[in-house]
């Protein structure tokens, strides 16, 4: 099958193409060069006046694993409010903040997304995460396995184990959970909460292990670097949501010691204590630090006003915030000496000072971080807002007057305190393509995604060049996944199944001896039943694995 996309305006930052009118060719599932005048074109799409980008990639969205299912269980009203009927092509389900997996796939594809990553896979819950993502149609998916609160790693650190052993354990975890990265959430803090600690700052010691969050961040950052795992360690830093936490965030950046480090949903970690209400924006300090340190990347976790539900491994902070639950019901779980899960429904209100500040802080960081290759467009779905609010967020970033209008509607003191009205920047389509395509593909090491050169998988999104960017980005004209047309005029026209991105770095299998002993003595499942094989991914779970290469650097 040879498809020609004729005369679209192409934005392909990975190949430095900024709005050039050109033709693209798809041969089966990949992009190819112009096959020459003699070639037999099976299908042609006239894209004159339309914008062409690679399929979008969401590098931080909670779409799999137990916590979203806990949120669905806790919040049946979401599904009651937004049931979606089946069609000849699509399954029924429900929408709102925690859509069913099938609707998640359809809605992402309808917005031009072709790949999404679940950032918090509990190793003991990895099967569920992959099963839910396998039931998320069209999208390719992947997960980041959570370490840094698991007792095995903390015991290694408490015993002052060699970095080589830690690297082996990290690599074994990636292999066993079929994940593409490692994530740390409130390093050591989830574990400390199980010992009844209610806070843990970056240089405070875990009450049992006498290990600091800084040490955990250092050893995991180093492990991923030495194993050659492309995606740097995503850190959900200590003290989420605590006024004054920007200092912890700056210290967390330093903990990386110059190695690559990614700070997740940084909006929730950029709070100062200025002003009468002792709550202020520290976006300027955070953005300045990101601009000055090329090893740091971030995603924002922008909030939007309305009802959502927050889901997090950070039981320490979720429990601390349960008093804000709206409606007043919440779940916290301690899980398998591995991590935890906290689910607290939340309603962000534009007339609430703190919520309005949160909204402004996220936008400030977006607009003050200079390098779009190091900042990613997320709402930390569903924590800041459901992923379906991305088109609205894109318009806020691309349209200053629209932003000004909304700024007039929020809590007046928050608007007055915010620098937002002075920030004139408007993101370009090229920058938007970096932030939602080329950047995520590069940071994840996906060489044949997120761009439109020969050899890339034909994940392509075509938009009408509508002046209203929200309308433009919420309804692409065409979306191709692996060369198949899956969306036409904003609606699903074919349903395909995706695959799972993973990394399998090399490691010394000797680690399995100590793991076997640990499993036998303490765990509730056998080590032999913990690991997920590639066969199981295909047969039982339903999503084949695609591996991304790791170029090991060796122990420093």
């Amino acid at each position: 099958m040879l498809i020609k996309l004729t005369a679209g305006t192409v934005y392909d930052p990975a190949n430095s193409i900024d709005g050039e009118v050109s033709d693209l060719y798809i041969s089966d599932d990949r992009i190819t060069n112009n096959p020459g005048a003699d070639a037999n074109i099976d299908q042609e799409y006239d894209l004159r006046g339309m914008v062409v980008m690679a399929g979008a990639i969401d590098m931080h969205t909670h779409i799999g694993g137990g916590k979203i299912n806990v949120a669905r269980t806790l919040m049946p009203e979401f599904c009651r409010q937004a049931p979606v009927e089946r069609s000849a092509l699509t399954r029924s389900g429900c929408s709102k903040a925690t859509p069913s997996t099938l609707l998640t796939g359809y809605r992402y594809a309808e917005m031009g997304y072709t790949t999404a990553f679940e950032p918090a896979v509990l190793p003991f819950n990895a099967r569920q995460a992959h099963m839910e993502m396998a039931d998320t149609p069209i999208l390719d998916t992947g997960g980041y396995a959570m370490l840094g609160n698991d007792d095995f790693l903390l015991r290694l650190l408490a015993d002052d184990a060699d970095q080589a052993l830690i690297n082996d354990y990290v690599a074994w975890t990636l292999q066993a959970t079929q994940c593409i990265g490692i994530k740390v959430v409130n390093p050591g803090g989830i574990n400390a909460f199980k010992f009844n600690a209610r806070k843990l700052d970056i240089d405070e010691q875990n009450p049992y292990y006498n290990i600091t969050p800084r040490r955990i961040v250092q050893c995991l950052t180093r492990a991923l670097h030495e194993l050659g795992v492309p995606h740097p360690l995503p850190v959900h830093a200590s003290n989420l949501g605590v006024p004054g936490n920007f200092k912890t965030t700056l210290e967390t950046m330093k903990a990386a010691g110059g190695l690559p480090l990614h700070l997740t949903h940084i909006q929730f970690h950029s709070y100062g204590t200025e002003g009468e209400r002792k709550f202020s924006s520290a976006a300027a300090e955070i953005a300045e630090a990101i601009n000055a340190n090329a090893n740091i990347s971030t995603d924002i976790g922008q909030i939007m006003f309305g009802q959502t539900v927050t889901v997090s491994g950070d039981t320490m902070r979720q429990h601390a915030n349960h008093g804000y639950a709206h409606p007043n019901k919440w779940v916290c779980m301690d899980i398998e000496c591995d991590a935890g899960c906290g689910v607290v429904p939340f309603r962000y209100r534009d007339k609430n000072f703190v919520n309005a500040m949160q909204w402004a802080i996220g936008l400030e960081i977006f607009l003050m971080v200079d390098d779009p290759w190091r900042v990613f467009l997320t709402t930390d779905h569903p924590n800041g807002a459901p992923f379906t609010s991305y088109p609205h967020l894109i318009r806020l970033l691309m349209d200053r007057s629209f932003r000004e209008d909304l700024l007039q509607q929020i809590h007046p003191e928050a608007a007055a305190h915010s620098r937002l009205s002075g920030l004139t920047r408007e993101y370009s389509l090229y920058e938007m393509a970096i932030m939602t395509r080329a950047g995520p593909a590069r940071i994840l090491g996906l060489k044949d995604r997120g761009h439109l050169a020969k050899g890339a998988f034909a994940d392509i999104t075509v938009y009408d060049d509508h002046a209203n960017r929200e309308r433009m980005f919420e309804r692409p004209t065409y979306v191709f996944k692996n060369g198949n047309l899956v969306v036409r005029n904003g609606e699903i026209c074919a349903v395909t199944r995706g695959a799972t991105h993973a990394v399998h770095p090399e490691y010394d299998r000797g680690i399995e001896k100590s793991l076997k002993d640990y499993f036998d003595r303490y765990c509730s499942v056998q080590m032999e039943n913990f690991a997920i094989s590639e066969d199981e991914m295909i047969e039982g779970i339903g999503s084949p694995v695609m591996t991304t290469e790791c170029l090991a650097r060796g122990i420093a």
Partner: protein, 419 residues
């Protein structure tokens, strides 16, 4: 042949350390068994040709014919009901897909029991721990109910009386308090660290509410509640508050009285209150026939755990209206698709509603269904996945013996294709 590290799907603990001896026509648990696994693995799997072949109105037929007949019945039904739903993840996925196509109602055979926990979560949430966490951390276990060993036979052995725990605790010193009608039951060890307090099951919620009041320092005029001295409850509350990591467990199946979800809500409220100053977690135990598995898959695919109607084209949840027994008793459902792949004795109720039954081989239905298709059992005859009662860990099931029988998902996908 001996197979090691085999998982058992026959109760909510899903122990995965079993050794199974596999001989033709016979599976035997030779290590780490319990009454439920021994029964489950050895339940008549193959009693001859009659049990092995599909039937239409009692007459043996090919699988192809049975599938075509089932599709025909589903096509012509006004309100098909998918009941039983004793199956693994793949079977649950296939059932939800077929139900979506046919506009069916889905309700698990254990729904009345499941909802005791689920309605409490929907209304107020809870704080819980998984089994691995309990094994290493619990220093005081309070059980509301009595004989959890009947529903989770190896719970005490694996998660309370385990020889070693991770944080240097002497597990022999763990305290156990049981409040319930048969308190003092079989599987617990009776010693100086065990306290048993008799209490009618339907008053357990009152006990938990009294304990919450005591913990919150509210004045109480009553001197005893459900036959238990308030002074004694006060002591238990103090011990829970002094514990480093208390665990409050119950088995929803034991709470067989109206509005038992209010009792679960009271247990969960007590747990939440205790976490103001110390750590404590709830532990909902029990589960079988893939109930947790079905509720998980249904929740991610359809947004609701059970009691789901897809008749109007989109998911609608009503645990009363879509209760499977009510739909059969009222004749509202005009076709029953019953699935029970784990237990041949979980048969559809006798009645007039025409039925398609996907049953574990050896099942004998009181009323011969329109279509009977014997199916393989996950974890015995084919690989699969089931959820543990803690709603988190998915256990991989292995194939331990060869069977020609099709799995539930194979049959349901074939029916879907034939529609």
């Amino acid at each position: 042949m001996l197979r090691h590290n085999i998982a058992c799907p026959f109760c909510g603990l899903c122990c995965d350390d079993l050794t199974i001896e596999s001989k033709p026509q016979q599976l035997t648990v030779v290590a780490n068994g319990c009454p439920l696994s021994e029964r489950g693995f050895s339940q008549t799997a193959d009693t001859g040709d009659r049990d092995h072949r599909p039937r239409i109105q009692g007459h043996a037929c090919s699988l192809h014919e049975a599938v075509a007949q089932a599709a025909d019945l589903l096509r012509n039904a006004q309100l098909p009901l998918f009941g039983g739903l004793g199956t693994d993840v793949a079977g649950a996925r296939a059932a939800l897909r077929l139900a979506d196509r046919t506009g069916a109602v889905l309700d698990h055979m254990n729904s009345a029991i499941m909802l005791r926990d689920l309605l409490a979560v929907q209304d107020s949430g809870w704080m819980t721990a998984t089994l691995g966490e309990v094994r290493n951390r619990v220093d005081l276990l309070l059980i509301f109910g009595s004989d959890i060993g009947k529903h989770a036979p190896r719970f005490h052995e694996r998660f309370f009386n385990n020889a070693e725990s991770m944080f240097g605790q002497d597990t022999a010193l763990r305290e156990l308090i049981m409040i319930g009608s048969e308190a003092g039951a079989s599987s617990a060890h009776a010693d100086a660290h065990t306290t048993t307090i008799p209490c009618p099951t339907d008053r357990l919620g009152d006990i938990a509410m009294t304990m919450r009041a005591l913990l919150q320092g509210r004045p109480l005029q009553a001197e005893d509640v459900a036959g238990i001295r308030v002074a004694q409850l006060r002591k238990i509350v103090t011990r829970l508050a002094d514990a480093h990591y208390g665990v409050i467990a119950w088995v929803a199946a034991e709470l067989d009285f109206p509005h038992a979800e209010l009792a679960v809500q009271a247990f969960s409220g007590l747990v939440k209150d205790l976490n103001t100053t110390t750590r404590c977690s709830g532990l909902p135990l029990g589960g079988n026939n893939g109930d947790t598995t079905f509720s998980q898959v249904a929740t991610w695919q359809a947004g609701f755990p059970t009691g789901i109607s897809l008749a109007n084209g989109c998911p609608h949840f009503d645990p009363v209206q879509y209760n499977w027994k009510r739909l059969l008793d009222s004749d509202e459902a005009d076709l029953l698709l019953w699935i029970s792949a784990f237990d041949a004795q979980c048969t559809p109720p006798a009645g007039n509603t025409p039925g398609i039954v996907l049953g574990r081989a050896g099942m004998h239905c009181e009323t011969e269904p329109e279509v009977f298709i014997p199916v393989a059992t996950p974890g015995l005859h084919h690989a699969g996945h089931v959820y543990r009662c803690d709603d988190v860990v998915t256990i991989p099931l292995r194939s331990v013996c060869v069977s020609e029988l099709p799995g539930v998902s194979t049959v349901l996908h074939a029916i879907t294709k034939s529609l």
